[in-house]
Symmetry: C2
Subunit: 332 residues, 2 copies
């Protein structure tokens, strides 16, 4: 089996390039994954040297001097910077020199670079970002997690179709249940967008279970949760912020008495396992579904471990030929 | 000091009338609170009798036979049911026979009944539901939590002004910081609605700290968090669902080994205190800001304890003359 080559944007992310390079080295130590690190050659090489001898590892460095900063309007930035790392990384995939692109940088810039390099699959109007979230029973796919800021009902219907195909192909869910995120379970509940999308999903070739309240996001009731990108981004970030706040408040309570302190100390491994379970599912990376090349978007705050997980996910989805099979599913 | 009279919708809520009546009895046992329980007299009396001798308690029963069910379109239901409990309760306030109305029933029906009975304060276009959420440093106000499903930018600006006035009057925050919930902190981040509301809040007579990411909802960065009702409802319900899921997953981990079990047992009181801290702040009840009478909306799933807290909150806000002082703040 030839190795899967993942083109990694070495400049994208709050802790780039260090966390990106470390994560890439860790991923490349696994079987059957090659990494093309895309960024300023000197800077990337200097980071690589921190990891000692890499002679055996399948890592190449591809030069790209520029980066799209988090506060730049991405369209203008990409026009002004033809050597932006995320653009060069996407072009490696469109030239068939890599199988997937991975970036923890500006989501909008990754979206635009992938769109320009790969185009969209036949029948897709708007690509959607499909994040995997932990649930009581396993995981669920939330789409769109923020690739688009304004959506029409027909876009939500496509998110449902793409999300279901991805759940089947990428997560081996035989018959994924698709729910529409809204403020009440009844079909009439929600705003105009939701009511129209509800009607569309009822007619779409998916197992539609109707509206899903946000309190059921993590309950496992739905395998695919459809929403517009603004709402999806809010829902995910509320989740992140709350996990941190709960840990903070629990830590306060666990420090309040000696008995609680002892209890907290004895249960610290349980907390670590819990935290890992949340992190693994959430931060590995999210495929941008609907573009013609495999594109994995990771959280800007990704640690080296999250980058490693994201690259491993990219390789797995490339090996499963997710983009090709998604195109087949969309074709009918 | 004459007691504050709270008109309580005995039929509203998933556990009505039992949890409502129990919560009302508990609230009436506190100093200076009278309760008018509004519902079918026989049914309410039967529930009251479960609590033994109530001769000393300041509780009256006001007859109202009908209820707006959770799956009914509320406008049509209120027209068809002139004796709906929430409507009769609101009318007690407009006739000055009570100081505040409390309901854990259909939020839309409470909104419409309050609007019909009280009208809106001068200058208010859309009332907003102001929920108190726990943060690392105390509490924050989120407005709108779901009174409106579609909002324009000028409504969001008014939510900010009303929320800030409520934080000052109801929560004694001297100079409340107002944030606009969006998907990025920069002024340009968000959809069209957010960008327009950002411009409006920048010019409004409030301490506007700009966009607030959803991950900062519980961080304490803002005292007042402004959003449209659809987004606000999603954000709050994601929070609720996640708290439950985290407890579930942590329980699993705490049961995985004997040491973790012992740790979990020793720290159980810390968990209880944590849970109470979350519940107290979140489920007490939320005032509908902008209507001309004090209206407290509680969660449909409210327990007796949550109902008690909500009635106590209603009495406190009535005593502080929140509606009158909000009207003054809005007037300039």
């Amino acid at each position: 089996v030839p190795p899967i080559i993942v083109a990694v944007d070495a400049l994208g992310g709050d802790q780039a390039p260090r966390a990106i390079v470390t994560g890439a080295v860790q991923a490349a130590r696994r079987e059957d994954i090659s990494v093309a690190l895309v960024g300023p050659v000197d800077q990337v090489r200097a980071e690589l040297e921190r990891h000692g001898s890499l002679r055996q590892l399948p890592i190449t460095v591809v030069d790209a001097a520029d980066v799209v900063a988090m506060d730049e309007p991405p369209l203008a930035a990409l026009r002004r910077k033809p050597r932006a790392s995320v653009k060069v990384a996407a072009e490696l995939v469109s030239r068939h020199e890599a199988h997937a692109v991975f970036s923890a940088g500006h989501t909008g810039a990754t979206f635009l670079a992938a769109h320009a390099a790969f185009g969209v699959l036949p029948g897709v109007e708007r690509p959607g970002l499909a994040v995997t979230i932990p649930t009581r029973t396993g995981t669920a796919i939330l789409i769109d997690a923020g690739a688009n800021l304004e959506s029409r009902a027909e876009h939500l219907v496509q998110f449902g179709i793409m999300g279901a195909a991805y759940a089947r192909v990428g997560w081996r869910v035989a018959s994924p249940k698709v729910g529409l995120l809204s403020i009440g379970e009844e079909a009439g509940k929600g705003n105009d967008l939701i009511r129209e999308a509800h009607a569309g999903l009822s007619r779409a070739p998916v197992t539609f279970i109707g509206n899903l309240e946000a309190r059921d996001l993590f309950s496992g009731r739905a395998d695919v949760i459809v929403c517009d990108g603004f709402t999806g981004n809010i829902a995910l970030k509320v989740g992140e912020g709350l996990v941190e706040t709960i840990e903070h408040l629990l830590r306060q309570e666990l420090n309040a008495t000696a008995v609680a302190r002892l209890g907290g100390w004895l249960s610290r491994r349980a907390f670590q396992r819990f935290r890992r379970r949340v992190d693994d599912a959430e931060y590995g990376g999210a495929p941008l579904l609907g573009v013609g090349g495999l594109t994995i978007v990771a959280h800007g705050r990704s640690s080296a471990r999250a980058v490693e997980n994201g690259i491993v996910m990219a390789a797995r989805l490339a090996r499963e030929r997710v983009v090709e099979r998604l195109a087949e599913a969309l074709a009918g």
